[in-house]
Symmetry: C2
């Protein structure tokens, strides 16, 4: 599988972003990519940086956006993992990944299940938590375990995808630093983000693609200064080994992933064989208060 990764900084508006992404996906297809993964909410600024009802307007074009990326997938002949702001009904929105087949048809969709909410990342205001569960998406390239950003901190999500036969884990993402944090704290955060995702690859014997946005986005509401999205999109193999790690700039590339390595790795590390499902009931609880 040849995965195209598009790590971009936001500029202008939806039209300028779609024009840019069209160019990027086209180039990656020419370079041999058969799967392309875009970053989280790639059509807009990271509007969740503040709470403003006007931002719901950004989801008005949801159906047009689907049409745009459907055509792009078809024209480029790639499976395309998009990340869109879904308007489902008035007052009901989701953070949704639509996956397009090479012929432009919709292969499946995933609605972000774990929704964050902390200063600068007010997603619980904008997004209803997903109600489609953790269902991998079948495509002509294989079964894709598509999850989104905050999901990456929850091994439960990756595990369920693996138990349902996902052959690769994919995370469109938007994560960054606050400039006021110390360099040490920034290093710990970036390192944790890479580490926990590599651990999902290791736990499940699956390759993983994580595509982050990059660049500085100011909070116009001035609650915070802004977020410096840290880029560092990466691809790792079924032992968690880094195959490719991008910089902290706009960058696109094609990465070769050998899906057959999972078979080999799961033979030497047969974790799925040894899970103690007879003792996992407590995973279904928020906390065990008298544990």
């Amino acid at each position: 599988m040849k995965v195209g990764v598009v790590q971009e900084s936001f500029f202008g508006n939806k039209e300028s972003m779609q024009t840019l992404l069209k160019k990027r996906v086209g180039q990656l297809a020419k370079d041999g990519a058969n799967l392309v993964v875009l970053q989280e909410l790639h059509d807009s600024n990271y509007f969740c940086i503040s709470e403003d009802v006007k931002n719901f307007d950004l989801a008005d074009g949801f159906k047009d956006d689907i049409e745009f990326y459907s055509k792009l997938a078809k024209n480029c002949g790639v499976v395309l993992v998009s990340s869109l702001f879904e308007k489902r009904a008035a007052g009901l929105y989701h953070n949704t990944s639509i996956v397009f087949e090479k012929d432009g048809s919709i292969a499946g969709k995933y609605r972000k299940m774990h929704i964050p909410d902390d200063p600068g990342f007010y997603e619980k205001f904008y997004f209803c938590e997903g109600d489609l569960g953790f269902e991998p998406i079948d495509t002509s390239l294989g079964r894709l375990g598509v999850l989104i950003c905050w999901d990456q901190w929850f091994f439960e999500a990756a595990r369920i995808m693996a138990l349902k036969g996902a052959e690769i884990l994919i995370y469109p993402t938007a994560i960054g630093w606050f400039d006021e944090d110390s360099d040490e704290e920034k290093k710990r955060q970036l390192d944790s983000w890479i580490t926990i995702q590599r651990a999902h690859a290791i736990s499940n014997g699956l390759p993983l693609v994580s595509v982050n946005r990059v660049g500085y986005e100011r909070d116009k509401s001035r609650c915070i200064d802004g977020i410096r999205f840290w880029g560092n999109s990466f691809v790792c193999g079924a032992q968690g080994e880094i195959i490719k790690r991008l910089s902290q700039k706009s960058e696109s590339c094609v990465v070769d992933i050998d899906l057959k390595r999972s078979e080999e790795i799961r033979r030497i590390w047969p974790f799925l064989r040894d899970r103690r499902v007879d003792y996992y009931d407590d995973l279904l609880k928020k906390y065990i208060d008298n544990g």
Copy 2:
């Protein structure tokens, strides 16, 4: 909390190992340790390297071993995490950690829940899988999430300990390389082992101590040549940041761990708040065949 870590290579027999460990624990207590963690099956060679019924003799001294380590904990005034070969009945053995209080009393025990079995690590022959579940152990120093070796590959174990209020994750371990593997493969294995454990710390906002054996142990049955236990015991903080990592030699040291950092880290990364327990049922299955 001041944690003493004892990473040793096996030599001689149980008596020589107990004499050595007595000396090591005594020194760590003098150096300020109030908790000491020993490596997996520290009293013997890693006998699971081959299948031989004679090795069950090694568990005959289980009660004497408890007495020995009880006295050691009391004499040194430390909480002591041991790792012993438990004979429960004829033909019924466990890989068990007994945790001793500073006064020599037994604070609790944990029977290894996830049992590996692959060439050179024939643990399913020797050990019945644990039937005590994932229960943290209360001590005068806090609530300890004691797990053992192969458990470290299963985030389920760490998570349940965290949900039951464990304040630290602790893994006595025996893991190593085969000399015939390539340097690249060895690097991937060691790196995976560190990465997945750091991820448990990150996932749960908890510090973690992993104590591995070190040194080369030959397989007298000649099924394989032997195992080169890779040492590299380490301690990391609640963001997965490495606080101390040992070498690939016999080594002991005291590491300072700030248990209060979990409170701080869980405020900025409130993963426990956002778990979708309403969609985790599939974690209780071995696989979802028609997923």
